[in-house]
């Protein structure tokens, strides 16, 4: 399978090392290099990867290094610090795995900024809602949950340049 991490433009000029708003800091996450989209039998896939079969819903919280995030009734994202699937494609256990390691950009925000970002970018209740973490975030599809007490958002890599521009403007940085 093609390594889609190689097809994206270099974002060094668009993604800052960090964005300091004065009230808190937003950073790109680079220490969780393994991301897998999984569809089909989620219970079997989760058991193989050693993660929860339900997955995090919108604004749900995890403290784990390797975890699952629910995207839809039959799809989830597995985020890991090390490789958890030896091969991609269909598995006879009834699930399919697509590595998207470089295909999604991860953003991590200080707790002090979380409520403001959620209120500006989404229509979610701040108390959290729903089984799926996939939401409309600043007009594009984003995966929104908490890692520890820090807000974490995954967006398609092709939207990364736009999202960082949006964050700068929405938080009054420009």
């Amino acid at each position: 399978m093609a390594d889609i991490a190689t097809i994206w433009q270099d974002l060094d000029d668009a993604v800052p090392a960090q964005l300091d708003t004065g009230k808190g800091v937003i950073r790109p996450v680079s220490d969780t290099p393994f991301q897998y989209l999984v569809s089909g039998n989620l219970a079997k896939a989760a058991a193989h990867a050693g993660v929860d079969a339900e997955g995090l819903g919108a604004l749900a919280r995890t403290d784990a290094d390797t975890y699952s995030v629910r995207l839809a009734r039959d799809r989830m994202l597995i985020v890991a610090k090390s490789e958890v699937f030896e091969r991609s494609g269909y598995d006879e256990a009834g699930y399919a795995v697509t590595p998207v390691h470089g295909g999604m950009s991860i953003i991590d925000a200080d707790p002090a900024l979380a409520d403001a970002i959620i209120q500006r970018a989404t229509s979610l209740e701040l108390t959290g809602s729903g089984r799926s973490a996939m939401v409309e975030f600043a007009g594009v599809r984003g995966i929104v949950y908490f890692h520890g007490d820090r807000l974490r958002v995954h967006v398609d890599q092709s939207h990364a340049r736009y999202i960082w521009t949006w964050l700068r403007e929405a938080l009054g940085m420009i």
Binding site: A72, R73, T122, S123, L124, G130, R131, S132, R141
Partner: protein, 89 residues
């Protein structure tokens, strides 16, 4: 902003949803017997009622297609229902 409820994800902004069509909308049966007019009516025409309506909608975040009952004048949503047998069991 109007809030619709996805049977899987829960309450979300209306901007996350897309209208699919009437519910139910049975496909014309038997290709040989279907006239061009019947096929065109199936593809392009909607009931468009003034009042209570049952419709298919898609939640664009999770791609769930579901039935939503709503009132086209008051915009009141009276129910959202999953279509899959797995979801209903």
């Amino acid at each position: 902003m109007q809030i619709f409820t996805c049977p899987f994800c829960g309450p979300r902004s209306e901007t996350e949803f897309h209208f699919v069509g009437d519910f139910p909308k049975p496909r014309p049966d038997g290709m040989a017997k279907v006239s061009a007019e019947m096929w065109s009516d199936y593809l392009h025409n909607q009931n468009n009622p003034k009042g209570a309506a049952s419709e298919l909608w898609m939640h664009m975040a999770c791609h769930e297609i579901f039935r939503m009952d709503r009132h086209t004048v008051t915009h009141e949503v009276t129910g959202s229902y999953a279509l899959s047998s797995e979801a209903q069991s």
